[in-house]
Symmetry: C3
Subunit: 275 residues, 3 copies
């Protein structure tokens, strides 16, 4: 399927660009350090919808405009939600908060490889998003923290994703003290995979990782990511049964056959050609 | 609630001191390197009971008297339990062992922030206790080990807490070889958060961490810790629903309102005043 | 039970040697970098069967012949399975893949302490095997990778074991990019415990670890490993109940009594005598 055959949604708080099979998604409220609003959540959701079915879109690169990744939830947006008339049973604060958790879960499970480029503030919900990337590259001077409890609030929707990322032992200290980490400390805790020292080095690391992603077969990557995310959520033998069915299907499928041929012919497989 | 309005229990094997919203709980059998007995377990339990309902008590600092944290279970106490007449169906060895696991689980879930200051021997059950702290500070020369299998016994009650803390890969090596770690190695494995080189540096690190804890809202910290501990034990969507309810309640509660005001007025919130 | 009283199975693709209570199991297809076949899986299975009931066999050392640990599944073997007539309902590719997952799970749960000595290629299924060792020693120049998706296939049977070993955050990057790690990086991610710089250093580290294993009581080690592997798969209180029963039994058993006596008499326990 040709990536030019589908349309990206119109957006006001994020910027979208599709190039070489990569969706570049930039949080775009630089004056608010890209603090997230309900509008922004909806726009990210629509962008994920647009690319989800397209195997030609191999990766999604998440970034923030203006030197910060994301400062968390927008307090003014939250106050607006709080002041909204509670027509019917729904609590707007509950709904706003819960919607954010659904988005994080959705980014976690995106069929594409999600790469986060992390600079400046990576706070609260922004840290939650960073925790569900497949590849995270951090600027050494980036600042990771969950300041919620200092504001009298729990880091409600990101707690499970932070624990899944860095483990309970590190999560409990960070949440209960509001401590901040720089890029190197985030790498040491396994929150990010790479640390770079300047924008050009980050761009170079990103190019390298995208090259690697393109050498992996699109459908095999989708199937593999789905398997990895089911570990712990499914009984192990049932998961291994499902995995063996996926394996047999892949060997017989076009990717498996092309992969075996390319291996024997000592050449790159067709899906790596876009490089 | 004024912390001076409740009484701490009388104790013979631990020492208790309440100051500035912090309960200092010191294992106090220095001649036995603070090896744990049934009496000591009961005293720790009573101390946790005494402070549990009090939001003014923000943290519990666990330490050992005399240069060691805790050498594990007291062998003489165990032999006494073994020799006790088995009246009724209960097995005293089973009961003694199981009671220790209940205490570790209880410290894990204490509503306060639990900070462990770890020196000298941190062995067996002592290592189990260290594994459920929210913040662990280790002396570089401290010695962490699970020597149980060398004595012909399984590290029965601490196994799940050690795996939760450092992962299965590290736990299986340490348990099956009885290997010892120093403070720096314990930090590398994520068993502790900080390493210090002398008592004064440990005291300074503790003061710093207590200052951080006081900047976090008491109820928000309780709610957050509860959420973190439920990750993995509850289905994720159900946990996120509960988290969103806690969030909405916190925004509307006194802490959330004070947190928002303090943020806008660029001042410390009221709960940080005790500093 | 005398280890000389049982027979090791005859093998063509692995080599077996039993000495001093240690089964040395060497993957032995050096010309194929020890790539795994159905025959090899069957031979490993038979070797594990032979030693499983014998408490005198304290450890299993896994190695590869000829400078490589294991390059993964043998592609020719897979193609042969693919071409096999599908008599009855069974899919031979499904069966071959699933059989490998069963073997990895079985090595994970082997009652002996499993030590992996990792050199050269530690790829795909070979990396899966490394992930279920109790102690892993890697040559600094060893090369760890999951190249499956580059061949159009998912790393189907090893996914849960890799996630259990190094966590989801690291596993997703490695699987979705096919990235390779050397021994030092594998240690940093917790995939292995030790890194050595030359064969003699690896042999020395292995001797040291075997000495440590022998100081741990054979039955206590079996019981402890079983407990550790049940963490997360069983409800915690039920696991702690079972653990307390094992503890009480061990205290009263021959190992517990010998352990206590040796401790009081300041001597090595009987099971360490083989040293």
């Amino acid at each position: 399927m040709n990536p030019t055959l589908f349309r990206l949604p119109g957006c006001s708080q994020i910027a979208l660009e599709l190039a070489d099979g990569v969706l570049h998604l930039t949080l775009n409220r630089p004056a608010q350090r890209n603090a997230m609003t309900q509008t922004m959540l909806g726009e990210i959701d629509a962008a994920l919808d647009a690319v989800a079915p397209h195997e030609t879109v191999r990766a999604i690169v998440l970034r923030g405009a203006g030197g910060h990744f994301c400062a968390g939830g927008d307090i003014r947006d939250m106050q607006a939600a709080q002041d909204a008339p509670v027509a019917g049973a729904a609590d707007p604060l509950f709904a706003l908060n819960r919607a954010f958790g659904r988005l994080v879960a959705r980014v976690d499970a995106a069929p594409q490889v999600v790469i986060a480029c992390l600079e400046g503030a990576v706070m609260g919900g922004g840290l939650g998003l960073a925790c569900v990337s497949d590849i995270a590259i951090a600027d050494r001077a980036a600042r990771f923290a969950m300041p919620e409890t200092g504001l009298g609030l729990p880091p409600a929707q990101i707690a499970p994703f932070v624990v899944a990322r860095i483990g309970l032992a590190q999560a409990r200290r960070l949440v209960l003290t509001g401590a901040a980490l720089d890029g190197a400390e985030a790498a040491r805790l396994g929150l990010v995979h790479f640390v770079t020292d300047e924008p050009e080095a980050m761009a170079e690391r990103l190019r390298e990782q995208l090259t690697r992603v393109r050498r992996c077969a699109p459908r095999a990557n989708r199937v593999s990511k789905d398997l990895l995310l089911k570990v712990g959520a499914m009984e192990r033998d049932a998961l291994l049964d499902q995995a063996a069915r996926s394996f047999a299907e892949a060997v017989r499928g076009d990717e498996g056959r092309e992969g075996a041929r390319a291996f024997l012919e000592r050449r790159l497989p067709s899906w790596a050609a876009a490089d």
